[in-house]
Amino acid sequence: MKSIFHIATHELRRLFNSPMAWILFAVVQFLLAIFFLWFLGQFIDPAAASLFANYGVTEIVVVGLLQIAGIILLLITPFITMHTFSEERQSGCIKLLLSSPISMTELVLGKYLGVICYLFLLLSLIALMPLSLLMGTELDLLQLLSAMLGLVLLTSSFAAIGLFMSSLTNQSAVAAISTFGILFVLMIMNIAGNTGSELLREILTYTSLLNHYHNLLDGIFNSADVIYYLLVSAVFIVLSIWRLDNERSY
């Protein structure tokens, strides 16, 4: 159990040793700040007041911002997860890990925890933006909480998928691009759900990563959505463990 923690802190230290982690912080904050300003401008624009008659600031600004945040995280998570195993393999450091008294499960969970810690730090920075509205207005805090939970779960599943893709290859770039491809397909699957038979449409819409996020953004806490994300994360973590276990035979 302790080794999970050691691997996670090591992962974090290495992330923060590289400029990548800091630049991603800065870029994400910058992009979201632009959107935040834009949503806020729309909301307080008197001309548009009639448009948003039935909506509060939480629905317009907070939900809008977090929806964009979901898409930006889709773009940046592959850059964080791509190093996890590819680089270890490329540099040969995987041999240090494999010859140490730690199990594959501990290794994968440690890596996952490290990546997740970084991403959650990023999420807490994102959360500060809507929270700053509290200075001037009231917010629907429960909806904000539900939406943040959605973002946390979404990010966790992104990270698990990225981790798995990284365990497949020894080239970081390949891991990043393939993670991005998979995440993107999973996201837009509900668009494909507009065509085809009833059953296919149901399946495609349900498996889409984004679909379940929308419920939580709207403040609808459905345990099925939560379980969906936990399941996606668990499946890809287990796949990574299998993959690494298997790799030793070759």
Binding site: K2, H6, R13, R14, C93, L96, S99, S100, P101, S249
Partner: protein, 329 residues
């Protein structure tokens, strides 16, 4: 030797796809023994070492480290194991202290002892002054030493070093050899190398692996005692006709390679050599050079691994009986 067996390798094989890299290899190493692992490139040395360390799994067979089965209870086995792979597994963006602390934690050293363990292993590998430097800024030799430091940080019972002296300067090589001999007193060490004198200076036993098969498992002492027929190059300033030299007892054949130089094939015992020098003095041949062409280990190595790469050995004396294949099926 009655000492406890620390590594036991039992009929292991490893396949890369259809290619058999290691084929039914068995041996064991006792406590306090330094084992030299030799073989041409691609013979399966690294694969075997990685299997012993649990980095690769064996397609067949059993490996026991310090009494723990590597595949049944890998954690217990790996606790007793230090491994330096061919390329030291270093994180370039960490400094030496950070890296060694991480290695110590991974090896399960308790928190209170980490600092001491890091200091001790740094000192043993001559890294005391480099603690705060980034690994990527250090030279290859230093990186190699960090690799060794991480392998010995938890003073494991079993130490597996894949080419530990590659990239080091001659002084460092001597230091590392001393370190290995010192570690060999109460640990078991397996080291692979291409440098034969290195094996002679630190190892107690030699394994030679060729095309995945173990072709020799012999103690170094025994190997060096063997009476092989071996070429010696001599140079005489006033040489007699070759026939006269050929009459000296113990010399089997002779070959003139220059006005003053001869190659002599003889039993490599002291008496024959004494006879040659004595004759030279008595007959005033003025011997001024006497160089053994190959030593026993080199010769054994070449002989056992010659199969595929004929060009390695351009000149060979007569075949001699050997214990090749004793341990391989």
């Amino acid at each position: 030797m009655n000492k406890e067996i620390l590594i036991s390798v039992d009929h292991i094989s490893h396949y890369y796809g259809n290619h058999c890299a290691v084929d039914d290899v068995s041996f064991s190493v006792h406590r306090g023994e330094v084992l030299g692992f030799l073989g041409p490139n691609g013979a399966g040395k690294s694969t075997t070492m990685q299997m012993i360390c649990g980095v690769l799994s064996a397609s067949a067979g059993q490996i026991t480290v310090a009494g723990h089965d590597m595949f049944e209870s890998p954690k217990a086995a790996k606790k007793n194991l230090g491994f330096l792979p061919e390329h030291p597994p270093l994180y370039q963006d960490l400094n030496v202290d950070e890296y060694l602390r991480y290695a110590a934690r991974l090896r399960g050293i308790i928190k209170a002892e980490i600092k001491k363990a890091v200091e001790t292993s740094k000192q043993r590998c001559g890294l005391s002054d480099t603690g705060k430097r980034l690994i990527k800024n250090l030279s290859k030799g230093f990186q190699q030493r960090i690799g060794i430091a991480q392998a010995i940080i938890h003073s494991p019972a079993v130490l597996i070093l894949d080419e530990p002296t590659s990239g080091l300067d001659p002084n460092q090589i001597l230091e590392i050899r001393e370190l290995i001999s010192e570690l060999g007193n109460d640990h078991s060490v397996i080291l692979s190398t291409h440098i034969l004198p290195e094996v002679q200076s630190v190892c107690d036993r030699v394994l030679i692996i060729h095309q995945g098969k173990l072709v020799l498992d012999e103690s170094l002492d025994k190997l060096q005692q063997d009476d092989h027929i071996r070429p010696i190059k001599i140079a005489l300033r006033q040489p007699p006709p070759p026939e006269v030299l050929g009459e000296i007892e113990g010399i089997t054949s002779i070959e003139q390679i220059g006005n003053h130089h001869f190659k002599i094939y003889c039993q490599s015992d002291i008496e024959t050599i004494n006879r040659i020098t004595k004759m030279s003095v008595e007959s005033e041949w003025e011997l001024y050079e006497m160089i053994p062409e190959r030593d026993s280990l080199e010769e054994t190595f070449v002989q056992l691994t010659r199969g595929e790469s004929q060009s390695l050995s351009d000149e060979k004396p007569d075949e001699n009986p050997d214990e090749a294949g004793e341990d391989s099926e």
